[in-house]
């Protein structure tokens, strides 16, 4: 087994990073067009993970994650426009269902694809107003979460956590108290180091799960459960330490930290928390 990016994957990572930085302030529809032009929606699992990690880092406002990892694995194709999938057996908390052009439903009769307009999904009011989650009313729903959806949320959450850590590191180098940068205090350093370790742990497990999906390895079910659980563990550390180290600044609306904290937390709460996936590993 080889567990490092090859040259093309490294190149892709660089391109995604540059693109995401460059397009940060573009409106949503232009971002979406850029992603389509670059062929990111068609990326195979490991490459998709590379894209999603960076989109997580950027708190991407588009329905890319839902289209690539909620719709596509269910429908077996890409949607016309954007898409999402209902596979929880209930139709609660469906990512981007309020704005998807097509919605794939996992039903007792198999997968049914419907027009988003026809389903009239009801957007839920949530703590993070940039997050689109909606309730979908449809008959005969059954549960069966695609591995790709778990991997996608896991690796996006890793991206959010990386962003939180980067913001924290920049902040604690900059902010002075008692005449020194607060980053020179050991209590601060150790919190940052713990964030780093949690991120690295979650990152390798997320990429391993992408790799098992790419090669359709029999370990994929366990690998995605581990990835989702580790991402959940990671956001716990990064949310707590990240918020704490910002002091009152992190408590404000203006500070961009809040966006990433909320994304990271949502990444754990959607499709089962760390604790639930750990239990899945025990059976």
């Amino acid at each position: 087994m080889e567990f490092e990016f090859d040259d093309e994957q490294r190149l892709l990572q660089r391109v995604v990073r540059e693109t995401v930085t460059r397009t940060r302030s573009l409106p949503e529809d232009q971002l979406w067009d850029t992603y389509l032009e670059l062929g990111w929606l068609e990326a195979p699992p490991v490459e998709l993970a590379i894209v999603l990690e960076e989109l997580g880092y950027a708190a991407d406002p588009t329905p890319f994650l839902a289209t690539a990892t909620w719709f596509a694995p269910l429908a077996g194709r890409l949607p016309r426009g954007s898409g999402t999938g209902v596979f929880d057996g209930e139709g609660r908390f469906v990512l981007d269902a309020d704005r998807a052009d097509e919605i794939a439903l996992l039903t007792s009769e198999g997968v049914v694809v419907r027009d988003g307009k026809d389903l009239a999904a009801e957007r839920l009011s949530v703590f993070d107003p940039t997050l689109h989650v909606a309730r979908v009313d449809a008959p005969d729903l059954v549960a069966g979460v695609p591995d790709l959806a778990l991997m996608g949320l896991a690796v996006s959450t890793v991206g959010s956590c990386r962003r939180i850590l980067d913001l924290v590191v920049a902040h604690v180098k900059e902010r002075h108290q008692f005449g020194v940068p607060i980053g020179s205090f050991q209590a601060v350093k150790h919190k940052a180091a713990d964030m780093y370790v949690a991120i690295e742990r979650a990152k390798v497990l997320a990429y391993f799960s992408a790799l098992t999906i790419a090669e359709d390895d029999p370990r994929r079910g366990r690998a995605v459960a581990m990835a989702k659980a580790a991402a959940g563990d990671c956001q716990r550390v990064c949310f707590r330490n990240g918020f704490q180290l910002f002091g009152a600044m992190g408590y404000t609306w203006e500070n961009e930290l809040q966006i990433h904290l909320k994304r990271a937390k949502a990444g754990d709460l959607l499709l089962g928390t760390a604790s639930e996936h750990r239990k899945a590993l025990l059976v």
């Binding site: 087994m1 080889e2 567990f3 490092e4 990016f5 090859d6 994957q9 490991v46 850590l165 590191v169 604690v172 180098k173 020194v180 940068p181 980053g183 020179s184 050991q186 601060v188 350093k189 150790h190 940052a192 180091a193 713990d194 780093y196 370790v197 690295e200 742990r201 979650a202 390798v204 497990l205 990429y207 391993f208 790799l211 098992t212 790419a214 090669e215 390895d217 581990m226 659980a229 580790a230 563990d233 604790s275 750990r278 239990k279 590993l281 025990l282």
Partner: protein, 382 residues
């Protein structure tokens, strides 16, 4: 990234497996147990010698150093096979993994011949003399002095914690050779035979038992050490300590991950921590593969050490608590007895938990690893 096994590696694994099936000592041969980390019973010496002769001891090395020029993925397969069967390839692990490895990296040709090869062939054993009463985490504060006098160094001072020293033939000893230089710049490394005049070793018990003797105090009084026993350049001991040991350190942690599989097997249960343990082991393994693969910052070894040692400790604590009052019992066997293993790994749950602190204290504590990650990876001010 690729999961599929490489045929070259699988062939290598099969060859090693076949070798183990035919050459492994029998449980009857192996009744005499190792008493310390530098005590190799005769049967285990023969075993290590066989590994050396057949090129299975340090497979990445050339044949003259007990290897077969194996590739890194092959070396990983070698460790996986050993761990899967709970086999220790040397009962003087620091002698093989740290001291011989350092000599192969930093030693002169003569040192390799006179010291590294006998260590590899288990003709002699070695211990690591770094820590002192006043120099633990602050290793660079060490004060044991070595003064050049003609063609000898004269050594005075004291080491402590020196695992296995009372059974070792030689100590890789860190000494101060330039007291006026900044503290990292005046350190050198000497090979000091334990039979040297003026060298006194006093073993003392561990938390496990008063007669569990591995720790030592070592006192040096005017010990004369031939100049040619200097390892690496004079006053560059800090470099040896932090070893450009290449992949050796990463491999130690891959090995550690594989060994944690034993813990997974020994403590099956349906509590959440058991899933966490499996995740930690898998993450450690993947971090190791990743670090072996690419041109990554070698400081990342700190991530492996911190994650691995803390994960093991946390799992041992959960296993202990899982057994409730029963976990007070000692001695008891908590894993399968395998004669090629070191018993401490299957000792009572209480002992196993206590010993897990070796991981978070020795070789740079968890706190020191966090400092390193914060300062040298994240770039926070010192």
């Amino acid at each position: 990234m690729r999961l599929a096994p490489d045929p070259e590696v699988e062939k290598f694994r099969a060859d090693f497996s076949a070798f183990l099936d035919t050459h492994l000592p029998t449980p009857e041969e192996a009744t005499v147990r190792s008493k310390s980390s530098a005590d190799i019973p005769d049967w285990a010496r023969r075993w290590q010698r066989t590994l050396f002769d057949e090129g299975w001891l340090l497979p990445a090395q050339p044949p003259e150093y007990g290897g077969r020029n194996a590739t890194l993925p092959q070396v990983v397969a070698h460790l996986e096979e050993l761990s899967r069967r709970r086999i220790y390839h040397s009962f003087n692990p620091q002698g093989l993994n740290i001291i011989a490895a350092s000599l192969l990296t930093f030693g002169t040709e003569q040192q390799k011949r006179d010291w590294a090869i006998p260590l590899l062939r288990a003709e002699i054993t070695a211990s690591l003399g770094m820590s002192e009463p006043g120099a633990g985490s602050d290793l660079a504060g060490l004060r044991t002095r070595a003064v050049l006098d003609g063609d000898h160094f004269v050594v005075n001072g004291q080491k402590v914690w020196t695992s296995g020293a009372h059974d070792a033939d030689v100590l890789l000893t860190f000494v101060r050779t330039d007291p006026d230089a900044p503290k990292h710049k005046g350190i050198s490394v000497l090979l000091i035979p334990t039979a040297s005049e003026g060298l006194v070793r006093r073993p003392f018990g561990s938390i496990a038992a008063p007669d569990d003797l591995d720790f030592n105090e070592v006192f040096f009084t005017d010990v004369r050490v031939p100049k040619e026993n200097l390892v690496g350049p004079l006053n560059e001991g800090w470099r040896v300590a932090n070893g450009s040991l290449g992949h050796e350190r990463t491999l130690l942690w891959v090995h550690y991950a594989e060994r944690m599989d034993g813990l997974i097997q020994d403590s099956p249960c349906d509590e959440e921590w058991y899933a966490t343990l499996q995740m930690d082991v898998q993450a450690l393994r993947l971090l190791g593969y990743r670090l072996l693969g690419a041109d990554r910052n070698p400081v990342e070894i700190s991530v492996l050490k911190l994650l691995g040692s803390e994960a093991a400790q946390s799992a041992e604590l959960h296993a202990l608590e899982h057994h409730g009052t029963e976990a007070l019992l000692h001695p008891v066997q908590t894993g399968p007895y395998t004669h090629m293993n070191i018993e401490a790994f299957t000792a009572s749950w209480f002992e196993r938990y206590a010993r897990s602190f070796g991981g978070t204290i020795a070789g740079g504590t968890s706190e020191i690893q966090r400092n390193i990650i914060a300062e040298r990876i994240l770039g926070l001010p010192r």
